[in-house]
Symmetry: C2
Subunit: 212 residues, 2 copies
DNA sequence: GATCGACTGGGTCAGGCGACCAAGACGTCT
DNA sequence: AGACGTCTTGGTCGCCTGACCCAGTCGATC
């Protein structure tokens, strides 16, 4: 094995671990399986990571970052807000359908983190990031299509995330593409129904805050 | 340990395993942990189950049956269909909030089954049962409150299940009760919006107009 | 009360696990 | 060239796992 800095080796191991988890599941991602995937010795693992859980914590952070970037890149220009929401959902679904093992791995990682005291706080933080990403997309979409939201944006973001979670769960369980499409249509309708035409140009509009 | 028939011992072990999984997770539900919980010897386990996976298959079937009974018992009499859907969601949420470890265990079991070739078909079947339960509730609720559904009932059932999945995921991750309530309000609105007044009583009655 | 099949449980096996150590290899700076 | 700190590695430790064996116990039946 070539000589690597600790930081580089950590990154290599995290990516190898992710491949093992995608393929075989969190449970089978043992230190030995990971170093075999990365083609390095077992001792190298514990040279750069104090423990397997420390590596999983870094892996979790990596996955969250990657997921966040992917969702934010899905902003498309659409004429109507319904179409914008619908194509945003489609972009997510395409990602899910192309890499189901990746989403499944993510679900397993969340479960694992919830069971591990040192990592138990991570899923909550990850969820807040998702909601925040959803909020950004909804705000951006509304701005681009000239509407504003009739209900608090935080609430609507939660709804959107719930829809994607439900979409993920159901599709992973039964792989029914048409049922998924129907769900996305429904979600786009339900969310777009909460939009009203923007009254004025945002800059000079006074009432910014909107209590519950 | 008292003498038990194989069938009884299997049932005792499945329930003990379920307690261990609720408390510690699927991963830590080893044969030794299970027999300790059930207060019997390790050999008794392999006397009635050929392997740990065989026991988990039986456990999965047990959980699905229990879950199904719980959801179907939640039918309440309401004046409006929106209220019926809302209270149905609330009944599910109360169950979730009272026994979060049970829902978490269920999610873990689904993940485990998906990773185990012999059990991989079970989550899909379980999901279809859920959708079927949701359909029964929606049909029953519509009948009780004098409405019919404007879109195919199969599609709407899928939406309802997706909402409960999304609700489960988000609440397990951040335990935010008010966000959950907001999501349920939204879901009740969105689903009730798909109802229209029933025009007639199906069986033999002549067509009769029934406003609202 | 003898027999026989069903049931019980202590003990053991090989294998996989996370973690660790001590010795060697390498690059770099003096 | 020599010395030093960083990196690499094979080997090993104690522990836990699922599975299994076999001697022993129990209770129904004859």
């Amino acid at each position: 094995m070539a000589r690597l800095s600790s930081a580089d080796r950590r990154a290599v191991l995290v990516r190898a671990a992710l491949r093992v988890i995608d393929r075989d599941g969190v449970y089978r991602a043992t230190t030995r399986a990971i170093v075999a995937e990365a083609e390095m010795s077992l001792a190298s693992f514990h040279y750069v990571f104090r423990s397997r859980d420390e590596m999983l914590g870094e892996l979790f952070a990596f996955v969250v970052r990657r997921e966040e970037e992917a969702t934010l890149a899905a902003l498309s220009s659409s004429v109507s807000i319904r179409q914008a929401v619908r194509s945003g959902l489609q972009a997510y679904f395409d990602l899910l359908a192309a890499h189901p093992e990746r989403e499944q791995a993510l679900q397993e990682l969340i479960q694992y983190a919830l069971r591990t005291p040192e990592l138990a706080a991570l899923p909550g933080a990850q969820y807040r990031r998702y909601v925040h990403s959803a909020q950004t997309m909804l705000e951006h979409g509304a701005e681009l299509t000239g509407v504003r939201w009739a209900i608090p944006i935080e609430q609507l973001s939660g709804v959107l995330v719930a829809f994607t979670d439900g979409l993920t769960m159901s599709w992973l369980a039964n792989r029914d593409d048409s049922a998924a499409a129907a769900l996305m249509e429904f979600a786009a309708d339900a969310i777009a129904a909460q939009s009203v035409p923007a009254r004025s140009i945002p800059a000079s509009d006074p009432p910014r805050e909107q209590p519950q």
